[in-house]
Symmetry: C2
Subunit: 109 residues, 2 copies
DNA sequence: CGGAATCCATAGGGATACTG
DNA sequence: CAGTATCCCTATGGATTCCG
């Protein structure tokens, strides 16, 4: 927090973290993966209201952020495993803090 | 984290906190206010790239979230002071955690 | 000074259908 | 199974102008 940043900028660490969490479904997908590695279909079943397009968008986004990795197993049928990277696990304390803060904010309404 | 939430829901504490921080300029406005109470004009000067419309939007949003209060002083000219509420100050540890996490995420790229 | 009103451009989320 | 390809619609951010 250098006091000189006058506009939103992805170089700001706060923006970096928020960028990774951006999107309505992102934290839910992350939470699923924090329960363990999952295939595309398993994620889809865990989040029935999430469309294929958006799930793909979210996973692509998380991979670009270096938060999630993808491993494809060729065969019949194909399988794809998604898992958190080491960087992804770094987000866990942040989610917990988000939860704590959200709880306290609700109380004061 | 009850394991039963299958869709985004503002009742989820994580969503509550993220909702408050939503928008490109929101965290920057919060940061300004964490330096002390500020008038509309002072905020506008601190964030020159932020348009009136968006500044108003952000402040309205933060007030709806119970994070910021507004006090109007009638006179010539009028003045308006914005300040963090007690709830607003609860967000500070979260911003720090966002910063820490963002820093670590950058390193691993 | 401190906004509100208007208009515009873009991005994000979502529904549906199709493919390797 | 694990996506891609379209199309659409709304929300958000931004520029500009006007008002009490």
């Amino acid at each position: 927090m250098d006091g000189r940043t006058l506009e939103p900028h992805h170089d700001c660490p706060v923006e970096v973290a928020l960028e990774a969490l951006k999107g309505r479904w992102t934290t839910l997908v992350l939470r699923e993966l924090m329960h363990g590695d999952k295939s595309y279909g398993a994620l889809s079943q865990s989040l029935p209201k999430l469309s294929d397009k958006v799930l793909t968008d979210v996973l692509t986004h998380l991979r670009k952020c270096g938060v999630v990795s993808r491993t494809v197993f060729r065969g019949f049928p194909n399988r794809t495993l998604y898992r958190l990277t080491a960087t992804g696990w770094e987000i866990r304390p942040l989610l917990i803090e988000l939860y704590r803060t959200g709880l306290r904010m609700r109380k004061s309404c």
